[in-house]
Every structure is written in structure tokens, then in C-alpha cells.
Amino acid sequence: MALKTEPFVVNIGPQHPSTHGVFRLRLTLDGEQIIDADMVMGYLHRSMEKLAEERTYTQNIPFTDRTDYIAAMTGNLAYVMAVEKLCNVDVPERALWLRTMMAELQRFASHCIAIGIFANDCGAWQTPVMHMFRDREKILDLFEMACGARLTLNYMRIGGVSRDIPEEFIPAVRKLLKDLPSRVDEYEQLMLGNEIIVARSRGIGVLTPEQAMAHSVSGPMLRASGVAWDIRKADPYAAYDKVDFDIAVGTNGDVYDRFVVRIAELRQSLKIIEQCVEMMPEGPVHARLTPATVQPIGQPVAPLALRPPVGEAYARIESPRGELGFYLVSDGSPAPFRFHIRSPSYINLTPMKLMSVGATVADAIVILGSVDIVVGEVDR
């Protein structure tokens, strides 16, 4: 006799540890199997794009800290690069190297969170996270040394960085570079060799290279599917064209491979930071913004507010989560006419339904963990 069943709806979130913030996953289930997945977001929507249209270009830098608050440096960097593109500013060499070093330190810290929280999602409650936080703390200490803040850094400036690093910074980085490689090995054993994590993540949430590209997935997720696409290599910005590193690529495109890629990227980040320490040139850290660089000669200028010439710019970088882009339109006024953030966390969620239909509820948690969303960046 056939058993009469009906679909059952489960809300995961908005307040749930596996959603990494206020985000709701609405799953329709047939028994334990997912037949539909819908995402409900906007709980952290602060309308940053509208806010930014009413503030000056410099005032908008702190907003970019608060979109992706796990990786504020890369948010800063993408935005200032877009403004520099708009105004044709040449950034001094030392500032470019500082930006590269800071972005890589940030990538290390951000991947630490991604990997640690993933262990959380797999059921290893809090202990692995604390291991990762131990190393992330040291990087935050470095940020505090460089710019006085730990999380919302506001370090990059249009034309450079806010200030040069203090004397004790480079020795501290060198000391960290001695400690961290063994820690990465430790993570690798702890995570990738763990039987439970392998059982939970192998073959789950698979995206083929074609699916990943078609769904605009970027960052470690795209590379895990076997597409060697890294904007640091493909379109080098800052000083990435002068450093040597490899693109970490996966093969299967499943949840497990995404973490293989992230752990491999930890090693590559350390390699880049080491080269930055060795090759950092001396010199100024901020370009001099004259009215002529930001305004066509012959037009009236307001000296205190940056007024980029009429036009538009799209700048993108490889943030820890993927391709982070800023699209700015200037009408010649001190505030951007349009300020759009192409946020990787948000767009990487596009294939969420594709990945989770047919899987179980427990898999959906792991799949969401592997996207590594930051809700501040999803909702903006």
C-alpha cells in the first residue's frame, strides 16, 4: 500500500548557527530529501548603495569595511581601485606593495574563518574554530599595528594607503611567517584527513565547470570546479604582477574540493606575503591628488572634495570569496551618481538550489558552509 505523503517546509534561520549570520534558507522536503530550496535574505540590508550616493567618495571607504566585514581590506582595495580608475590616479610603488601584503594577510585571516566555521557546520563544535581564530588573531594584531583597527580597517585611501607601516611591523610579519606554515599543515591534517569531514563533504554540492561559469560563481568555488581563474593572475592589480604564486585548482567541484582549494590558498598567501616583505620598496605611500588629476583643467574645482570627471569605472579584484567588483558612475559631483557592489557572496549563492535539490538537510548545511557567505556582503 502506498503511503500518503506531502512536502514539508523547513526554515533554516534567520537565527541559526549554520547560516553564518541573519540569512534564511527555506527548504521544501520530501522525507529527508530536498525538493526545493529558496533563499530569504535582506535581514541585514542597509541600503549601502543608496547611502553611498549621498556621501563623498572618501566618506564611502568605511562602508566597504562593513559589507564584507570578515575581509575589510579587500573591500577597501576594490573600491579605491575603482575611484582611482575613475580619476586616473597613479599609486606609488610602496603603496601597491603594502596593499598586496595587506590583502594577502586578509585572505589568510578570512580563509581561517571559512575553514574553521566549516568544521563547525560538520559538527565539530567550536574547537577547530578556536584553532583558526588563534592565528587570525595574530593577523588582526598586525592590522591594529598598521591602522589602529582590527575589523573595520578603513586603511586604503584613494591614491594609496592611510599611513605607512610602523617599524615593528615587518619583524612581526617575519615572526608570523615562521609560525604559520606548520599551522597550515596542522589544519590540513585536522580538516582534510578527518574521516567525518570527508564523509560529509565528498561528492556533495557538485558544480561542473560549465555550471559554475554559467552561474557566475567565482573565487575558490569556481577554482574547485577546475577552472583556473584568478583575477590576481588574469588581470593583475596592485603588485601581483611582480610576485610569484600558483593558482590552486580543484578537480571535482564538490564541497571537499572547495576546502582543499582554500587550504592551498593559505600556503600561496604566505608565499606572497614573504615576497612582499623581501621586495617592499621605500618611498611615499600616498599619491598627491591635485585638482588636475581629478578634474579636467579649466573647470571650477572644489579643493576639499574629490570630484572625479564625468564617466564610469568598473574595477574588480580577487577577494577571499571571489570576484569583488565596484561599478561607479560619476556625474562630476562630489558624490557618486551610482555606486554598485558586485558582491561575490551574493552571486555565489545563485546555484544554491541547483546544488541542494536532491541532497539531504544535513548536506544543505554543509553546502551553504562551502559557499562561505558573509551576510553583510550578501545583503549590503
Partner: protein, 171 residues
């Protein structure tokens, strides 16, 4: 380095295949006619020497007299980037064809543009509000939407709601 395919170049290619499809071409991007948008997008996605398979960013811009949808498209295989746009002058109910069938990655981005700017993407599989709730009045990213409460305009002398004449924002 990523090679930028300028609006002029991409317009030339599209114009050869679909005469009359281009409205305007400037180096920053080519403006297409809405009717031929899907054909042109499919063409640049499948053409062997373009292969624009990765929709990087899709966003709407309120140009005061019109709405513009801006597409930044990348070719991962050939390391290219280009920019296309579509304009609509209907401010009451702006309509633009959805490119979800060409690039599924447009799905959430079109929902965002619909939610915040009120641009209807025809043919979108699931066009609903995404950040704001159903029934939210208006579309906040439009320029004629009321200013944010709390005195957010730069250069204001005082907060809105305080006594005094009409507020003058920055020029």
C-alpha cells in the same frame, strides 16, 4: 592582463551579425536595442573568438530620464571583458528582457535590480523582491525616491523634520 573589448569593438561585431541592433556605442560600452538583446548576448557567448560566458555584474542605473541596465561580461577562456547596456525610457514600468536564459548567473542580480530600481525583467523565472519585503512602497535606488530619513544628505544644515524652510542639499 585582461583585454578590454571596447564598446566600439563589440558593437562592430554585433552590428555585423544583427544589423540595426546597436543604438549607441562609446568606448565604455555598447547600448543595444531591447528586442535584439537576447540574440546578441547568445551570439557573443557562443562565438569562438569571444566566448563571453561569465556574466560578471548586472546592475541598473537610474539616469533620471531613463533606466539603464549595465552588463559587464567576461570571457574566462580568452581573458576578455566587455560592457553592454540596454536603455528604457518608460519610467512608469520599465521593461527589459531577462538574460537568465543566456547566463543563469543573472538570476539573483536581476532580482536585486527589480527590487531596488523596479526594472521588470521579462522572462525571468522567479521575479520577486529579494532584500525588501513584498508590499514595500517604491523602489529606493530610484533618484526620485524620497531621501533617507535621518539627515543623510551631505552638507545639510540640519536634519529633515526640524523646523525651517525647504532643505537644500548639496549642489
Amino acid at each position: 592582463m585582461t583585454k578590454v573589448v571596447t564598446g566600439l569593438d563589440i558593437a562592430h561585431r554585433i552590428e555585423q551579425k544583427f544589423p540595426g541592433a546597436i543604438v549607441e556605442a562609446i568606448p565604455e560600452g555598447a547600448t543595444l536595442k531591447a528586442e535584439t538583446l537576447l540574440d546578441a548576448c547568445t551570439f557573443i557567448r557562443d562565438e569562438p573568438d569571444l566566448r563571453f560566458e561569465f556574466l560578471s555584474s548586472l546592475t541598473g542605473v537610474d539616469c533620471l530620464d531613463s533606466f539603464e541596465v549595465v552588463y559587464h561580461i567576461e570571457s574566462i577562456r580568452l581573458n576578455l571583458i566587455t560592457c553592454l547596456r540596454v536603455k528604457t525610457y518608460d519610467r512608469e514600468s520599465p521593461r527589459v528582457p531577462s538574460v537568465c536564459s543566456v547566463w543563469p548567473g543573472a538570476n539573483l542580480q536581476e532580482r536585486e535590480a527589480y527590487d531596488l530600481l523596479g526594472i521588470h525583467f521579462e522572462g525571468h523565472p522567479d521575479l520577486r523582491r529579494i532584500f525588501l519585503w513584498d508590499g514595500f512602497a517604491g523602489f529606493p535606488l530610484r533618484k526620485d525616491y524620497l531621501n533617507m530619513p535621518g539627515g543623510l544628505m551631505a552638507g545639510l544644515e540640519r536634519f529633515p523634520g526640524e523646523p525651517g524652510g525647504k532643505l537644500q542639499g548639496r549642489g
